[in-house]
């Protein structure tokens, strides 16, 4: 549940972009949202004293597009919430609104001036040109934007933004010599305006680091990536840059060695755990780290991280929800139910619409846990509540239908599947549910029809083929039924064969690891090579190569290990851990490429954390 995404969804019914909207209907403004009225009043006073509204938005707003100075455009009624609409309507260009209420929050608006709108046009046009690979044009547009921005009063981040765009354009043209100084200037301006630890400088840092990396200045790029990691993931009031970097590094060591559970792993985990106890994290990072641990089957450890998060943020609904998800993945449904229920009882986002949607999602999860625990009455109640809260919640609708089906309430199941189908007409699961329910009601021709629709949407889903064949046979269409059965049996046989193959390979992997831990490293290596030559899926290939590389490293075969990790990168497997491991091996071998991979490791670590949390 990404808070920023939900905010944007809640506040803006329709996003309007410059290019598509008639000039006369278009109004642009900047928005600052804060939690308390005193905060809002203080900001308004600072604006009146001449500080940049956009800069204050970047520094302090918790509203949408804060990173972009809170900028937004509206073209027609209904684009934004009524409170914003009303406030905007009363403003002339350049004017600032009084402090007003928005749900439980407070906001300020400033209507853009024509000059500011012109700057925006150029800036967005520059961005569009970049997206469309029109780099020369982008250079021109950002240069003009920078000049226009320079005319605004006082210190203004729009100069920095323009320069950032310009440097990026040079970079994409391959002109690192021009790109780098411009990027440095942009960053310097941002740091001056926002402070060197402010998240608002991250885009600029990323830009500079990428340019340095492109220009083979790996050492400085790595420094900047470290800065990005610490700025983005540090808990502002708690940990230092070095603390968070140290913790993340220790986490990498744990993840690398998790599969083998040997003494190296034990030490790595102990060090990580000690660092975690001393390092306050950002609220969402607990979930990110826990997910990372869970993925390498460190279930108890993942839970432990989440419990630390709960200690730090006892009132955080997000953390409870994340813990519940870990429990679900670990098949601990009672514990998951408890955590979801706790999350449901906690305060959510200030915006009522967002809060309602969140509550709907949580109720659906509560219902599904109750269903798994065979508490059907509780499940039914929770599904109904989820649907009331969020009528678009397809999972809740399908869940309720499934519940009725499991209780043998076929008419109710039918109604519920039809309702799901109505709200989501192209959903295979709804058709499949209908098909199965019709089958149980012995309405075979309707079952056939629904099953066929499900198959049209998901041709390889076996259950639909199975239901279709049963329905056809019972409806007296023997030949068609036999054909459908044949299709199903083919899919089933293929699935069984795939699963068997996968199990065989996983067994090789396990045996290889046991050989390594048992002191028969070379035999383990041979098993991994065998597994790799047996046609694994892409996921398994990644796993086997990683394990092989780590095993080679453990056996002191660093050249082989480096070759293995390099192979992974050449195959396009670009996980941050691979770059880390390769950097370690190159460093041991005295190969200067370790700097390049060290930089890549840090860059991709940041990206990986963002992906996990999104």
């Amino acid at each position: 549940m990404n808070r920023v995404v939900l905010w944007i969804a809640a506040l803006f019914a329709l996003a309007c972009f410059v290019s598509g909207v008639p000039q006369t209907d278009r109004r642009a403004a900047n928005l600052i949202v804060v939690s308390t009225q005193p905060d809002a009043t203080e900001i308004r006073n600072r604006v009146r004293l001449g500080q940049s509204f956009e800069l204050l938005a970047m520094r302090q707003s918790i509203g949408p597009s804060a990173d972009d100075g809170g900028y937004f455009i509206t073209a027609r009624a209904g684009d934004v919430r009524q409170e914003l609409e009303n406030a905007l309507a009363r403003l002339k260009p350049g004017e600032v609104s009084p402090v007003e209420k928005l749900g439980r929050m407070f906001f300020l608006l400033r209507r853009s001036t024509p000059d500011e709108d012109r700057w925006r046009s150029q800036y967005y046009a520059g961005q569009k040109a970049l997206e469309e690979w029109r780099y020369s044009e982008a250079v021109q547009l950002f240069s003009n934007a920078a000049m226009d921005a320079g005319k605004f009063k006082g210190e203004d981040q729009r100069v920095a933004l323009s320069l950032q765009g310009l440097s990026r354009s040079y970079f994409l043209q391959g002109d690192y010599q021009r790109a780098e100084p411009v990027a440095r200037e942009s960053l310097s301006l941002f740091e001056k305006l926002l402070g060197s630890g402010h998240p608002g400088i991250l885009a600029s840092l990323e830009n500079l680091a990428a340019i340095e990396q492109g220009g083979a200045e790996f050492a400085t790029a790595a420094q900047h990536y470290r800065k990005i990691l610490s700025t983005r993931w540090r808990e502002p009031s708690g940990s230092s840059d070095s603390d968070i970097l140290d913790l993340l590094e220790k986490l990498s060591a744990v993840l690398t060695n998790a599969y083998f559970r040997d003494s190296i792993f034990q030490n790595a985990f102990r060090e990580f755990d000690e660092a975690l106890a001393l390092t306050p994290l950002r609220e969402d990072l607990y979930a990110g780290i826990a997910q990372g641990l869970f993925r390498v089957e460190l279930v108890a450890e993942a839970e432990s991280v989440m419990h630390r998060g709960i200690q730090r943020f006892p009132r955080s609904r997000e953390i409870r929800y994340a813990l519940a998800k870990i429990y679900v993945q670990a098949s601990k449904y009672e514990a998951a139910l408890g955590a979801f229920e706790t999350a449901a009882g906690m305060d959510g986002p200030a915006d009522p619409a967002v809060n309602r949607q969140q509550r709907g999602v949580i109720q659906e999860r509560i219902a599904s846990m109750n269903l798994l625990l065979v508490r059907f009455d509780a499940a039914a109640a929770a599904y109904k509540t989820a649907i009331e809260l969020s009528p678009d919640n397809l999972k809740a609708r399908l869940g309720l239908a499934d519940l009725y089906f499991r209780r043998g309430m076929m008419k109710e199941a039918l109604d519920a599947y039809m309702s799901a189908n109505l709200s989501h007409p192209n959903n295979a699961a709804a058709y499949r549910g209908l098909a199965e329910t019709f089958l149980h009601l012995e309405r075979f021709s309707e079952s056939v029809s629904a099953a066929q629709k499900a198959i049209a949407l998901e041709p390889d889903e076996r259950a639909s083929h199975y239901i279709l064949s049963l329905a056809l046979l019972r409806d007296g269409h023997n030949e068609q039924g036999q054909m459908a059965l044949h299709d199903y049996e083919k899919l089933e046989a293929q699935s069984q064969a795939d699963q068997k193959h996968q199990r065989t390979l996983l067994e090789l992997d396990r045996n290889a690891a046991m050989k390594l831990v048992g002191g028969q490293g070379e035999e383990g290596i041979a098993l991994w090579r065998k597994a790799l030559s047996s046609g694994p899926t892409a996921t398994l290939e990644t796993r086997f190569l990683m394990n092989l590389g780590v095993a080679q490293a453990k056996l002191g075969r660093h050249r082989d290990a480096a070759e293995t990790f390099q192979t992974m990168i050449d195959l396009g497997i670009n996980d941050f851990l691979i770059h880390r491991n390769l950097a370690v091996e190159y460093q041991i071998l005295g190969d200067s490429r370790y700097l390049q991979h060290r930089a890549s490791y840090l860059q991709k670590y940041d990206a990986a954390l963002k992906v996990i949390l999104n």
């Binding site: 089906f405 499991r406 199903y488």
Partner: protein
């Protein structure tokens, strides 16, 4: 089919049992008492549980109810396991034969039984394969199977080699049935996977080791032995057609004529692979029709864990239905016979789903525990993974057993009101039903893995009336296995078959039990013998054990012990 109608025969029952009070509501007040201690049965299953997690350790534990000494009272054989790591335990893991003392206790007669320890035992089934009047035994195991011929002198002789029915791979359940109606029972043996101690795999449960899923191994083909009638068998597995599908991981088997064509069909429950329904085409040939019939998979088209199985007519339409026990969250599955070779999965509409979702089921039997004429379901449950608590919090290794009462085709678990017998939480495996005390209601014996069994006496079921029918074939096989009994009573026709082997690793009382509710007289009993002969008996008084011989009708009767 010749019909041999027997003239009206009145069997006069003793005064004490002739007219049972009929004021009691069906099933009300029935309890199952745990009489294990009182029974003097001291058997304890040895499963040799080890850190290496050899798969047979968690799958074993069979029980057979049979009258080995022909005294009219059910005796009990418990199949023991053994150990793959401790030779002393392995040597001491003796199967145990208990003779019924007729007073609620049993005597351990193993020492003189001739049944020896050999390998890691799984299950057993019993039938008079040589038609000499004494039931014989087939015992399966993880690395052996043995046929024991009953000498008629209270002991058994190992005739595996001479009979030609040995198996060195992992055998599980077995069942006897006459596939060609030649009067000699044939033998079906399910076989599981190609596990061997030296090929034991490591299967993780997070960071611990656990028992492997059977799909970590390869399935092994089942066996079908045709009885040659001279003390030997011929392996007709391939030519019979039972190998036409890829090997399943066979665990449960039951014979039953599901299409009422007079030929015994076979249903096999396979673990995590499609179940088999072998349609008997005559001449010892079978066609596998599980998918066509709709009994191969779960409702979602996925194979289920298929452990134990039974066939019975739960809805009273004269057609045999099928029940299979499965894993937690799969539901145990009930297939209703629609006729014309098709089945409907009525697991959800019947209430079976809701009652069985949280359980891992093994042994099972259709049984009319309360004598109300409807077939109920008894189910033995218990998880496979003894350290499951490390990975899940919604289940336990030890689980409650279930008794699903059938109320006009709707099932609900009545275990909680049946007393101590259904409050026991163990990891159960085989379950066998039979009238141990000959009092007219069906008792239950549960074999538990690595623990003592539970002997559950039915108290109160006989407040409603019933009949117990023992069949003796003359042209048909001696036990009458495969005979179809139809009892017309109170406007209903109860259809029951004589079965030798069903459930999981076990066998029920060969005598056919028929509840009669408040009726004191059944209008008519029809017996369709495997030979084709039909015997009819009319106006049968309730509450007695009848012996019916092919071609002669009722040749004996004794009132229930009350």
């Amino acid at each position: 089919m010749r019909t041999h109608t027997i003239a009206l025969i009145f069997i006069v029952a003793s005064a004490g049992s002739a007219a049972v009070a009929s004021v009691v509501q069906q099933g009300e007040g029935v309890r199952f008492s745990d009489i294990t201690a009182k029974s003097k049965i001291s058997f304890r299953h040895e499963n040799g549980a080890s850190p290496e997690k050899h798969l047979p350790e968690t799958m074993s534990g069979g029980v057979v109810l049979f009258d080995f000494d022909n005294d009219g009272w059910l005796d009990i054989l418990f199949v023991n396991g053994g150990s793959f790591v401790d030779t002393r335990k392995a040597a001491g893991a003796q199967h145990r034969l208990y003779r019924n003392n007729k007073d609620g206790t049993f005597a351990d007669v193993t020492a003189t039984s001739g049944i020896t320890v050999s390998g890691f035992g799984m299950g057993a089934c019993s039938a008079d394969y040589d038609n000499d009047g004494f039931p014989d035994l087939y015992i399966t195991g993880a690395d052996f199977s043995r046929l024991y011929r009953n000498t008629g002198k209270g002991s058994f002789a190992d005739v595996t080699s001479s009979a030609g029915v040995g198996s060195t791979l992992w055998s599980a359940s077995c069942a006897f049935g006459d596939i060609d109606n030649d009067g000699n029972v044939d033998l079906y043996v399910t076989r599981y996977v190609d596990y061997a101690p030296e090929r034991n795999k490591y299967c993780p449960l997070w960071t611990a080791r656990a028992y492997c899923h059977p799909n970590e191994y390869n399935g092994v083909p089942d066996l079908l032995f045709r009885n040659n009638g001279n003390g030997t068998f011929t392996d007709i597995s391939r030519e019979s057609g039972i190998l036409q599908r890829p090997s399943g991981n066979g665990l449960g088997v039951v014979f039953g004529d599901y299409d009422n064509d007079g030929r015994a069909d076979i249903y096999v429950a396979n673990d995590s692979t499609p179940n088999f329904l072998f349609h008997n085409k005559s001449g010892g040939k079978f066609e596998e029709v599980g998918f066509l019939a709709g009994v191969a998979m779960g409702h979602d088209g996925k194979p289920q864990a298929g452990m134990g199985t039974d066939m019975g007519d739960f809805d009273g339409d004269g057609l045999l239905d099928i029940f299979v026990t499965n894993l937690i969250m799969e539901t145990h599955t009930l297939y209703r016979n629609m006729g014309k070779g098709l089945f409907a999965d009525v697991t959800f509409t019947s209430g079976v789903a809701q009652a069985t979702l949280p359980y891992v089921g093994f042994g099972t039997a259709f049984v009319d525990y309360d004598n109300d004429m409807d077939l109920d379901l008894a189910i033995a449950n218990g998880h496979i993974i003894d350290n499951v608590h490390l990975g899940r919090d919604d289940t336990t290794y030890e689980q409650l057993n279930l008794l699903l009462q059938n109320d006009s085709g709707k099932f609900r678990n009545v275990g909680p009101i049946l007393g101590e017998g259904f409050a026991i939480m163990k990891s159960s495996r085989a379950l066998a039903v039979g009238d141990l005390d000959n009092d007219g209601d069906m008792d239950i014996v549960v074999a538990n893995v690595g623990q003592a069994p539970d002997i559950l006496r039915n108290d109160g079921g006989n407040r409603s009336n019933s009949l117990l029918i023992r069949t003796i074939g003359t042209r048909s096989n001696r036990d009458g296995i495969g005979a179809r009994l139809k009892l017309s009573v109170g406007g209903k026709i109860l259809t029951r078959d004589v079965k030798a082997g069903s459930g999981y690793l076990g066998q029920n009382d060969l005598r056919v039990h028929l509840g009669m509710a408040r009726r004191t007289v059944a209008e008519r009993l029809e017996i369709l013998w495997p030979s084709g002969m039909v015997d009819t008996v009319e106006n049968i008084n309730a509450n007695q054990i009848l012996t019916v011989q092919e071609g002669k009708g009722v040749i004996g009767g004794q009132p229930f012990e009350r």
